[in-house]
Amino acid sequence: MPDALLALQALNAHYGDFQALYGVNLSVEPGEVVAVIGANGAGKTTMLRSIAGLLRNAPEAIRWKGQGIGALRADQVAALGIALVPEGRLLFPSLSVEENLIIGGQLGRKGPWSLQRVYDLFPILKERRHQQSTSLSGGQQQMVAIGRALMSNPELVLMDEISLGLAPVIIRQIYEALPGIVGEGLTAVIVEQDIAKALSVSQRVYCLQEGRVSLEGQSQSVPREEITRAYFGV
């Protein structure tokens, strides 16, 4: 059986003395969209940060195309083609909208995404390209954050709670753009608190509960009660 694109094997994560993840197993196949849901503090962000290299782990706990990358630095992971849209957007305040996007393409990887293409996807950003990035509305900042990640032409994009703090109409707008983003063979792991949205765009879903995987299933067919049980740990 060929290696999954991304595989987490018994991933443990710690913040000092506090353990946030307990033996998480997860796999992602090329071209898939995998959703990860769970309550606050379940460990979803910790998991994404671990994959992205912001948290150090055991090398073999995170495998990318069969290679252990758990101990790599974030910039090394980025060079492999894994991009993170971080929770809270975290744009660079000293950079304009356009500069935020350009720096996303810092690594110069080849691919379908370019500045023009991001502007096609999110036209409002073109209008505001020279503005200070943090002067934009929440939804627009989210667009910049997503565009920034896409500019690196990744093979895998990790999205951490992109709907957090946004008005429903904006969330809908962004999620409507998602198929256009993911369509071209880009693989995605989407962490969401909005369960309905998460299920609507993904093929498979994992649920994390207090640092452990409590559910794994097909997004379209997993029963509601199972999700509720897995989400709340009852």
Binding site: L54, A74, A83, P86, L90, F92, S94, E99, I103, Q106
Partner: protein, 287 residues
């Protein structure tokens, strides 16, 4: 007329102080690091120019071609080997480590060169002067001032118009997220320090040509650079130039009143500005 002369001399002196300060300002902007050894590194540059001059028979202005890359390399190595380990939330490690470096540098220079004051001989250009209307100004001070303006303009251009500058700004904003863009933080910080010390090399050579220097001269240079930065306002390179000029003018006017008051006058003006405008005259960021 004498006062006008003093003001002009002070302004030109401000160029040298701005050069002292530019390196300090740069690394504070990128890394929030204040290098206590900065003044001693300026003095180190002067000594390196001295050694190149003695061994290769080079005019110090020509030796700059060797001193600048040497200091840049030293800066990169210093940052990556030692200072990168001090970067973090705690303010004590970088302060105490750079303080230790300052003491080590001063004493190594003392062992290597003795405490005798030294001078860099640049030849005829040192005494050449040019007439600016009613006053005569030295060519060297004008050269230094012009260099300061060019360097600051170049740094501004680099910061706001190049990929490296973008990388600096992004890393300064959010180190972690900058790593997500594929920027190696350790390398970026190394480059920033290399650039800072390249500017410091210029400052050191100009200092050595202008006055006598000895291993203990670093402290005063650090203070002048620091005063220029604070007067001008943090995070603003042009402000630093203004700060340097104000400091230079304060000192030369003070010297006019009494030669012994020169440095004290500068300190007093600094303290007054600190009292009235604690963030400086043209601040861009907060300390």
């Amino acid at each position: 007329m004498d006062w006008l002369n003093a003001i002009i001399q002070g302004t030109l002196l401000g160029g040298l102080y701005a050069l002292f300060a530019a390196g300090l300002s740069l690394i504070f902007g990128v890394m929030r690091l204040v290098n206590i050894a900065h003044g001693d590194l300026i003095v180190l540059s002067a000594y390196i120019a001295l050694s190149f001059g003695v061994s290769l028979g080079l005019n110090p202005l020509v030796a700059l071609l060797l001193v600048v890359p040497s200091m840049a390399l030293i800066g990169y190595a210093l940052q990556r080997l030692i200072l990168n380990r001090t970067m973090g939330e705690d303010l004590l490690p970088p302060l105490l480590v750079t303080f230790g470096l300052s003491v080590i540098l001063q004493n190594v220079l003392l062992m290597g060169y003795s405490a005798d004051p030294q001078n860099l001989q640049a030849g005829a250009i040192e005494t050449a002067s040019v007439n600016l209307g009613p006053v005569a100004v030295g060519v060297m001070p004008v050269l230094v001032f012009v260099t300061a303006v060019v360097v600051i303009a170049a740094l501004q251009w680099m910061f706001y118009r190049t990929a490296l500058g973008r990388a600096f700004r992004a890393t300064s904003d959010r180190q972690d997220v900058a790593q997500l863009m594929g920027l190696n933080r350790a390398h970026i910080f190394g480059l920033a320090m290399a650039l800072s010390l390249a500017v410091t090399a210029l400052a050191g050579v100009f200092l050595g040509i202008r006055t006598a220097f000895d291993p203990a001269a670093g402290g005063a240079r650090l203070i002048f650079g620091f005063e220029a930065v604070i007067i001008g306002g943090l995070g603003n390179l042009w402000g630093t130039l203004a700060g340097g000029v104000i400091l230079g003018v304060a000192q030369t006017l003070g010297a006019k009143i009494d030669p012994g008051y020169q440095i004290l006058a500068g300190h007093i003006v600094f303290l007054i500005i600190l009292a009235l405008r604690p963030r400086g005259l043209f601040p861009r960021i907060d300390g």
